[in-house]
Structures are given as C-alpha cells and as structure tokens.
C-alpha cells in the first residue's frame, strides 16, 4: 500500500454529457500504484483548505502508464459544481490511491454490473481484466452513460438497460443481469462466475439478492460520507450484517456483499 498526497495539474476537464465530466490529472505516483476499485480524495477547489473544507472521494476511472489518472464524475452539489469549473493547468490537491479494490482472481468469469456513474470504477476494472467478462449497465437515460463507449472495445458481452429505453432494453439492470447469469450457468463459465458491482444502494441491494439466489459471489463498491478517506476519522461507517460497522475508506470501498446489512438505512 503506497499512498501519495500531491498537487497534480489538470490536463483536461471535459463535459461529456449534461452534468457529467471527465477529469484528467497528471499524477504519476498515484497512477502507477492505482488498482481497480480504489479511489482518491480530491480538493475540488485547487489547494484551498477552507471552503469547501473537505476533499471529495472519486473512484479511479482510468490510470495509465503515462502518469495520467482519470475520474468520471457527475455534478450533484456544490463541490462537484466547483470542480467542473476548474481548467486545464489548475493545480489540484489529490490523495491516493486509497482503499481496497476489486482484487481480481485468476480464473473467473466476472460480470460487471454498473448503475449510472457507478460504471466509473468498473471501466478501470474492465481495462485490467485478463479474462473474458460480461458488462451489464443501467441508468435512467442514455445521457447518464457517457462512459459506455469505452466498454464496447473491451467486451463483446455488453448489456444495457435504461428506464426510458433511450438505449438498450427498457428497465433496470436486474433483468439483463439474470438473463446473463442464466446463460452463463449453462456455459463453460459456470462455477467461475463472480459479480463486481457499483451503483446506487438500491441497485446493489437488488444485485446482492440475485447473487444469493444464484449462489454467485458478489463484490460491491460502497459509498459513504467521508471526511478523510484514510481511516483517521471513522466517519464512513456502513452497517455490517453481523453487527457493528465497517469503514468504507479502509475496509472497502470494495467488500463482499454478504458482509453488508442491506436492510440498514443509508
């Protein structure tokens, strides 16, 4: 585990769709050490330490040998709004790579299940996977899925669901996921299936229940309100199935879905 707190220069900060941006920074130490599923804490207003006070956690969308690291983010509040106004050449405080990632196995057939912006860490995972895999992505509408084209070159098994049917089939990820599971359990991949998922809590809960039903292991990438991202404040608590709390920034963000109390309020 090597973590770095650096001032990184913005190479690009482009709007991909309404309210969705891709941020590219030059941060060689972080890019070199990053693994799929890990995240960084980013000070959205350059190096400012007062307002907004806290850094924002963002999952790593891509990390390349050339030292560039990318994030895909949607504007949901003040911090991400300020971030979206930052320009090429601006310096950003960035701390990472943080947390435990997906931890890929040797002989697996993974199914990557993403909801909306939750597809971001799955993209980095897809790029690093050496085995064949499937991708199931869902969102309200196609505008929320600007990262999707990146998956097309990485797998032939890409299933998309949107609630307004603007792209793919109509509905949420659960139906195409079950179809894919049924198909794969009849194939050579049966017995090697594992699900990696990231998205809104209700979606991940539904995916967890499907995995229980089919007896497939499921790794989820969790979110929580964070202050530090490094295990210092104990703020990022999520209720465990067997009582007590785990801390998303150091025990996760990726954990086995069986560890979580999915009925807990978030």
């Amino acid at each position: 585990m090597s973590r770095f707190d650096v001032d990184a220069r913005i190479l690009r900060n482009e709007g991909l769709a309404r309210n969705i941006f891709r941020l590219t920074l030059s941060a060689p130490e972080i890019a070199k050490n990053a693994r799929p599923g890990q995240f960084c804490m980013i000070s959205v207003d350059g190096k400012s330490r007062f307002d907004p006070l806290l850094r924002r956690p963002l999952s790593i969308f891509d990390a390349r040998k050339d030292g560039e690291i990318e994030f895909l983010y949607s504007i949901v509040g003040r911090g991400t709004d300020i971030l979206s106004q930052k320009k090429e050449g601006d310096l950003m405080g960035i701390l990472g790579p943080l947390g435990k990632g997906f931890g890929m196995g040797q002989c697996e057939h993974p199914i990557l299940v993403g909801g909306g912006i939750g597809a971001a860490p799955l993209h980095f995972l897809a790029k690093r996977l050496k085995t064949a895999f499937s991708v199931v992505i869902g969102a309200k509408t196609r505008d929320e899925l600007p990262g999707i084209s990146a998956f097309k070159s990485l797998t032939t098994r890409l299933l998309i669901a949107t609630e307004d049917e603007s792209i793919g089939c109509k509905g949420v990820v659960t139906a195409p996921l079950e179809e894919e599971l049924v198909a794969l359990t009849k194939s050579d991949a049966a017995g090697y299936l594992i699900i990696y998922t990231c998205g809104p809590w209700p979606m991940m809960r539904a995916v967890h229940h499907i995995c229980v039903k089919y007896g497939v292991r499921c790794r989820v990438s969790l979110e929580a309100r964070m202050a530090c991202g490094i295990g210092a404040c104990l703020g990022c608590a999520v209720k465990k199935a067997d009582g007590g709390y785990l801390h998303v920034c150091k025990d996760g963000p990726v954990v086995d879905s069986a560890e979580i109390d999915w009925e807990a309020e978030v």
Binding site: D5, R49, F50, L53, C228, G231, C233, L234, V238, Y245
Partner: protein, 309 residues
C-alpha cells in the same frame, strides 16, 4: 543581532512532559496514529493524542456521521473505538516505534469508568499522559454531561488524578456558559493541564431529503469555522489558570497556531485539518519555526502577547 546557529528552540514543558515542539495531533482526527504514519511523519510531532478510548469497545453511531458545513465539518462518530485493551495490544506496540509522545484520550460513562481507565493506563508502558474527554457531544450517557457541570467535571478529574501518576489533561467543552468556571473547577480538582476546545454542538438539515443531515441529528462542529470561539476561550482560560492550557479548534495554518500560542496556550492540537491534509501539522511546525526565526524569538515562551490589565 546575529542569528543563532541552532535556530529557535521549539520544545515545551507541559505538566512535566517534555515535548519536542508544541504541536500535537488531536484526538479522533488521526486514528491511533499508525493508520496515517505513511502520510505524516509522526517522529516530527510534539505528540499524538489517540482516538478516545473506553473500557470496552464501542460501535459508534449509525450513519451518516459526517456532514460538511461552511469552513467546517459536523461529526457524530459516537466515540467508536476498539477499547483500551485492544489499543494496548494491537496499536501501541507500533506507535511506540515512533519518537513522539503518545497521549491517551479517555472517555467513560461514569466516574468509576474514568477511574478504572486511569488505573489501567497507569500500568501501560508507552503512554506519556492522559487526556480526559469530559466534553463529547455525541454520546447520550456521560460525555458532555460531565463537561457542563463544574462539580461533575471536578469529580471526574479527582477520580482520574487518584488513579494515575501520569500527567492528567482535562479536555473542556465549549458548550458551557462560563468556560472559566469549569476550568477553575478542574484545576482545583488536580488537573495538570487543560485542553480546549472540543467540538461545538450543532446541526444541519438536508433540504432535499427533508431530514437532519446526521442520523444522530446533532453533531460536533470543528474546523476553521470554530477558531474564533476557541481562541477566545483559550485566552480566557490562560488568563485565569496557573496550569498550562492546550489550544484546540480550527488550527489549519501556522498563523492559526501562532495565534493560540500568543493567546497563552503552551501547546496546540491540530484536528480537522489533518483530515483534509494529513501533513497539515508538519506544515504548522515548520511555519512556527520560520515565524520565530524571522522575529528572532528563541523560545516559544516568548510568544504570548501582553494583556491589558
């Protein structure tokens, strides 16, 4: 005057404890130290105050536990901790490998629990002092209830004092009408030092969800937003007490720390700033040194400013 070859002397004597400089990490914002030792060189610090410890482990409050506010952060962690025994067994051996003073921050629900903790810690090698938290706003029993009442605060102080030969630092709550009254009471009860302030009780509402932003409804406010309140209280306490005062509250930059030292604090603790930037305290130390050099001060004891009588 020629600059001395050694530079300024940053060491301070705090209730019999020699710190290499006046900068400590505040409880609850640096874990048990070891978690962040790759990002902060603990050897550089005057000391580290570990996360509040209780007799038995505590799970803490349900989430959300954190919400950001203007120039600040509200938390309702609820004193989640692994308990004194697990700390001594799993964390302290690693922490002892660093050249810095380890201060145990303790919390009990009754006076007896505080006393039992003090007796236990007294027998543990590697802990240099005890900081007694009588001011946590995030737990129902004990906590702030002790910190808001001079008699109760004095009772806890006496119990801890009786249980240990280590320096006893009592950490005060700002959620009181008269900080001087409480500070005077714990001094009289045998405290070797006081530290202040703990967080200010506050709340925030999520207007989209139409509910309190914190599950616990109330939380403790920290960060730059509370600095003026903290500084005022430190000034008041330092002007009244004979025992040393440790200043805490919103310290982010070297200038912030220098303000507290000028107000009469003997040492300071860096809290929320570490959460934002792990090495903040290290920058504070070098900034204090630079300031003293630039102003030809030899010792931190020269920092306090005169008070109009």
């Amino acid at each position: 005057m020629a600059k001395t070859s050694h530079g300024p002397d940053l060491h301070v004597d705090l209730a019999g404890l020699r710190l290499k400089n006046p900068v400590l990490l505040a409880s609850g914002t640096c874990g048990y130290g070891v978690e962040i030792s790759d990002l902060v060189d603990l050897n550089m610090l005057g000391g580290i105050v570990v996360k509040g410890l209780s007799l038995t482990p505590r799970p803490g409050n349900p989430p959300p536990r954190i919400v950001e506010t203007p120039c600040g952060v509200l938390n309702s962690i609820g004193l989640e901790n692994i308990g004194i025994d697990a700390f001594a067994r799993d964390k302290l051996p690693l922490l002892k490998g660093f050249n810095t003073k380890v201060i145990a921050n303790i919390f009990g629900e009754t006076v007896d629990e505080y006393a039992a903790l003090a007796r236990k810690i007294d027998r543990i090698d590697g802990i240099s002092a005890i900081e007694v938290n009588i001011s946590c706003p995030n737990v129902k029993a004990g906590g702030a209830a002790f910190g808001a009442n001079p008699e109760a605060a004095a009772a806890v102080t006496r119990a801890v004092r009786a249980g240990t030969g280590l320096p006893v630092i009592v950490k005060l709550s700002p959620n009181v009408t008269d900080i001087v009254e409480i500070a005077t009471a714990v001094e009289a009860a045998g405290a070797d030092a006081v530290s202040l302030i703990n967080t200010l009780l506050g709340m925030s509402i999520d207007v989209k969800k139409r509910r309190p932003a914190l599950k616990n409804v109330f939380g403790g406010l920290s960060g730059p937003a509370i600095k003026p309140v903290a500084l005022r209280m430190v000034w008041q306490a330092a002007g009244t007490l004979k025992i040393p005062v440790i200043g805490i509250g919103g310290i982010t930059t070297p200038e912030d720390a220098i303000e507290f030292l000028m107000a009469g604090a003997v040492a300071i603790e860096v809290g929320a700033a570490t959460l934002v930037r792990p090495a903040a305290a290290i920058e504070v130390i070098s900034g204090i040194k630079d300031y003293m050099e630039a102003n030809r001060l030899q010792n931190t004891a020269e920092l306090p400013i005169p008070r109009a009588s």
